[in-house]
Structure formats: C-alpha cells, structure tokens
C-alpha cells in the first residue's frame, strides 16, 4: 500500500511538473484562428453544437425516447462527462470512448438506428456534450482496469510506423514546438475535440486527426472505433490530464 501511495505521489509530482510545460495547440495558433475559437459567434463548430442540442431533445427509436428523456438537461447531467472519456465499459469489459458511448446508448437504450462514426449526427452530439465540460480539467478516471489500455496506447504512441518509420512521439514529444513545413508541431493534447479544422472545412473527431497523421507517415490508419484508436485516445487523455477542455475548438 505504501509503495502504491509513493508511486501515486511521484506520479502527481510528475504530472504537476509536466503541467507547466504543456501547451494546448491553441497557444500556437494564429491570432485570427484563436479569435474564431474564443468567440462562440465566430466559431463554426457552434453550428454543430446547435444541431447536437436539437438531436439531444429529439425523440428517436421505437419508444420515441430522446436523450433528454433519460438524462434531462445536458447542462446539468453532462457537465464534466466528456472530460472523463475514454472510460471503462462495464458491459463489454473494455475501454470505450465518448463517440462509442453515444452510439451505444443510441442503439441499446433508445433502440434507434446506430449513428456511424464520423457521421454529422454523432459529431454534433459529441460536440454538444463536450461543450458541457468546457473549461473543466481533463480528468481521466482512476479506474485501474484502464491501465492496460493506457499502457497499450503509450506503446502504440511510441511505436514507429509507416514508410516514413516515424512514431507519434518522435514528432509530438521530441520535436514539438519546432516546425514541420509551415506549421508548428503541437504537443498533441486532445483538449478540443471534436473540433472544427479549417483544412477539413468541417467538424472532425480525434480519430480523424489520428488517421490523418497515420496516413501522413504513410502507415495504414487504424479503422474508426478500433481498439487501437481507443487505446491511443486513452493514453493521450492521461498525458493531457488536468488541461482545460476547449471543446468545440478550432484548429488550422
């Protein structure tokens, strides 16, 4: 027990030390792009949030249940929820991300047609739910069962892949802050997803971003919702623990 406590304390000190150097991608953006995110009236992601709010209270499925029928007002029931994901799924004994949880709830509780990964509806709901955690610290659950997933995620993060033979860590740990062609390499903290990326001209999830990076190093990207994806998400969330949620963000 004493060892565990000492380890926890050491981890906490380490996280605190890291917290001072960690930068959100927001800090390295152009002023104009920052202004878009800072102001809801100028943030195109708010269009999806609006859609998400509509879906939240729209009945779906055989019993005509909406999200609001069970969860009530999202402002109260969903505050801080997005900041905890990926979390442990008791039913399937595996880690699950927020998009997966929304799709699961929709299928198994609302008995409504599933929302596909990266579909507009799922992104809209994720953005709406994410907004309820804005400015709260990312708080990955202390659940010990997630440790294996996080360790796997970290291994994947450090594993070289693709024809360019690069790992995530080689750019985002070793060379963060330096430039890759015209853009600053961010530290890869997933604080603002789902976010509006100017390059996409639309809203996208963290997994879309990860897939973009993987094809960038000419590796075969993991499929949406793959266990590997959720493991990487879990590791990144742990790595960014304590940083403020910015959802829905804007990135160049």
């Amino acid at each position: 027990m004493r060892h565990v406590l000492a380890l926890l304390l050491a981890l906490q000190c380490l996280t605190a030390a890291l917290a001072q150097e960690r930068r959100s991608g927001f800090d390295d953006m152009a002023r104009e792009t920052q202004a878009m995110q800072r102001e809801d009236a100028a943030n195109p992601a708010m269009l999806w949030v609006d859609e998400g709010a509509a879906i939240w209270s729209r009945p779906a499925g055989a019993q005509g249940l909406s999200c609001a029928n069970c969860h009530g007002a999202a402002e109260a029931s969903m505050a801080g929820i997005a900041a905890r994901y990926p979390a442990w799924d008791e039913g399937r004994f595996t880690a699950i991300d927020l998009a997966g949880r929304i799709a699961q709830c929709r299928e198994q509780r609302q008995h409504a047609p599933a929302l596909a990964r990266e579909s507009e509806g799922l992104l809209a709901l994720a953005a709406f739910i994410g907004l309820q955690s804005r400015a709260m610290p990312l708080a990955p659950p202390a659940d010990g069962r997630l440790q294996a997933t996080r360790a796997w995620g970290e291994a994947l993060y450090r594993q070289r892949r693709g024809q360019l033979d690069l790992s995530c860590a080689q750019c985002h740990d070793d060379n963060a802050g330096r430039r890759l062609a015209g853009s600053t390499i961010p530290q890869a903290h997933p604080t603002a997803y789902p976010l509006y990326r100017l390059e996409w001209q639309g809203l996208g999830s963290l997994q879309r971003r990860l897939r973009g990076c993987m094809s960038g190093v000419r590796a075969e990207p993991f499929a949406y919702g793959a266990a590997e994806m959720i493991a990487i998400e879990a590791w990144l969330a742990q790595r960014a623990a304590g940083m403020a949620v910015e959802t829905p963000g804007v990135r160049p």
């Binding site: 009236a41 100028a42 195109p44 708010m46 269009l47 609006d50 859609e51 100017l198 001209q201 639309g202």
Partner: protein, 106 residues
C-alpha cells in the same frame, strides 16, 4: 434548412453603429474539385447575401467559389428606431434561406 447563427448586440442605441455577425452552415463546393470518378464536383455555393432593415437593403455581398465553407459574414449598421432585419442567403441549386430578427433600440 441550413443551420444559422446570428449575433445581434443586446444593447442598441439609436444612431450608434453596431455589428451583426452571421454564420451559416454550407459546404461551398467550389466547382473545381475532382470527384472520385474522374469528373468534377458541380459547383454549389452561396452566391449572394443581403440584409434589409424595414424593407430597405442595408448590406449586400456577392460570394465567389473562393469563399470557404460555412461563411462567416459580419457587417455594421445604424438605425434610428426599432424594426425588422431580414437576412437572406441565396445560392446554387435554388438555395434560398431567410432569417428574420427584431432589432430593438434601447
């Protein structure tokens, strides 16, 4: 119907300039991008935006294929009294959307 966000200041005084900010969900397909089958995706953009206050046009804008998706349009105006502001976006494929908001002078 495309989703629209319109921001109007809460406090408006007669004769004082204020900003209206609008954001509309639209793909703004430029007409120059290839589709998967060797063809070109047809142009589908918003071509014009107008704002009228009490029936009189106060701001107009023509949009081109170079404008990014989800156009953010902001303009300033000045009113002497309260009235109705009508915003209208028109575009390819018969796209026509109007939003009406009340401007209330305090």
């Amino acid at each position: 119907m495309a989703r629209v966000l319109i921001n109007i200041p809460r406090q408006i005084r007669a004769g004082e300039t204020f900003a209206i900010r609008t954001l509309i969900q639209h793909g703004m397909e430029s007409g120059y991008r290839p589709d998967g089958a060797g063809g070109v995706l047809a142009r589908d953009i918003i071509t014009s935006f107008t704002a009228s206050f009490e029936g009189e046009e106060v701001f107009g804008l023509e949009l081109s294929p170079a404008v990014a998706a989800n156009p953010f349009i902001t303009f300033s105006m000045r009113v002497q009294g309260s009235g109705t502001l009508r915003l209208r976006w028109r575009g390819d494929g018969g796209f026509d959307q109007s939003e009406v908001r009340q401007i209330i002078v305090t």
